[in-house]
Amino acid sequence: MNTSELVKEAKQGSTAAQKCLFDQFADKMLVVCQRYVKNPEDAEELLLDGFYKFFTKIASFTYQGDAALYAWLKRIMINECLMFLRAKNVFTIVTEATAEEIPLQEEALDNLSAEEIFKLIVQLPVGYRTVFNLYAVEGMNHGEIAEMLNVSEGTSRSQFSKAKVLLQKLLLQNDIKYVKRKSK
């Protein structure tokens, strides 16, 4: 049974179809949640919240391909994570007018595996990590991020700059380890 049929049956309330959709997307969505929320238990809870919302609102969803379904589901998960973080009041960040312009060494990131990139992102503090995820991974601009996190655009920029600085430090450390590992 393909995804389109699964969505159709899930709309009609089929538990089997819902289970199939859950099995198909749960792992990927858990990774998304854990990119925003470090604690695995919280991430799992948010995953369930996201799927609960997905299945309760699936009647309003029009299937336009697997990518659209994935994007919609991912958006639900991100919103759940942001709501969770907002509830924890982690976005009370002091606005910094001048943010340092530090280019992101994307080539360095390209040399790393997905798992290594993931581990690097998770090591960032929650404010940096959230802005980095939204800007660099999800592809949003600072205006959108500022609106979503209820902060100023300047704050979003400065948070991203700081995240990049920290990432480069971490990359350097990893690079050293990587060099060491290679030399061995």
């Binding site: 538990t15 819902q18 289970k19 859950f22 099995d23 749960a26 792992d27 990927k28 858990l30 990774v31 854990q34 990119r35 695995p40 799992e44 995953l47 369930l48 799927f51 609960y52 299945f55 309760t56 312009e101 530090i102 280019p103 994307e106 990131l109 390209d110 790393l112 595996s113 997905a114 798992e115 990139i117 993931f118 581990k119 800007y135 660099a136 991974v137 592809g139 949003m140 601009n141 600072h142 205006g143 655009e153 920029r157 700059s161």
Partner: protein
């Protein structure tokens, strides 16, 4: 660094999207599904329960309205009965008994015929002294049933009927209207009313003396009550 995100997706980002498992954590999708399933079922149940509650509330509401209507419908006659029992004077039955007595004295035809319209009850022992129109007892009871406000009037009638039975005469005394009686004493001396209203100051008497010694005097009269002056002549006192 520009605000706009570059469209060209870097390699590391696509790598991150392809990542399906977070390294180092065990995720049991079956356990997670069980939790989710319970939540979804709970929601369905809560929806069902909500409908049950709504239905129960509607039923209760309907029941309450029905009961209220029932009480309204049955409540009024019950009240009427109570009023009748409370205010029904015992003496009301006696006029009919009186009529029976009259019947026994072989004056049925007269009495019954008159009772049907306006009962005229006459004395049984003596000759007919007075005849009064009274309302038949049946009509009275009807009035009592329908209208409890008329109670004082009915009581009055009942009391008068009681008197009738004691004296074995049917005398219902209608309230007499006192009329002012005016006595006109055409003969003799005029009566001067010395009512309380007439003050002494208002009483006047005067004498007229003529040149020949004749004196004309008036008896005291009330200036307000009378306009008649009677003059008396006296022979001159020499």
């Amino acid at each position: 660094m520009s605000n706009e995100n570059p469209n060209n997706t870097p390699q590391w980002r696509s790598k991150l999207d392809e990542l399906e498992h977070f390294p180092g954590t065990a995720f049991n999708s079956d356990v997670a599904w069980d939790k989710l399933y319970r939540r979804l079922q709970g929601k369905k149940k809560s929806k069902k329960m909500l409908w049950y509650w709504i239905a129960a509330a509607c039923l209760l509401f309907g029941l309450v309205i029905t009961l209220l209507n029932y009480h309204k419908a049955t409540g009024e006659p019950a009240n009427k009965e109570i009023v009748t029992k409370q205010y029904e004077p015992k003496e009301l039955k006696k006029p009919s008994l009186k009529v029976e007595e009259v019947d026994k004295n072989k004056r049925e035809k007269e009495s019954v015929l008159e009772l049907e319209k306006n009962i005229i009850v006459s004395t049984s022992n003596k000759s007919i002294q007075k005849s009064h129109h009274i309302v038949p007892a049946k009509v009275l009871t009807k009035i009592q049933l329908n209208d409890a406000v008329n109670y004082p009037q009915q009581e009055l009638i009942a009391k008068s009927l009681q008197i009738v039975n004691r004296n074995s005469t049917a005398t219902i005394i209608p309230p007499k209207k006192k009329l002012n009686v005016v006595h006109i004493n055409e003969l003799g001396e005029p009566v001067i009313e010395t009512s309380d209203i007439t003050r002494i100051a208002d009483m006047h008497s005067f004498q007229l003396k003529f040149g020949n010694g004749e004196v004309i005097s008036t008896s005291p009269i009330a200036s307000k009550s009378s306009g008649l002056i009677i003059l008396k002549t006296k022979p001159p006192s020499n």
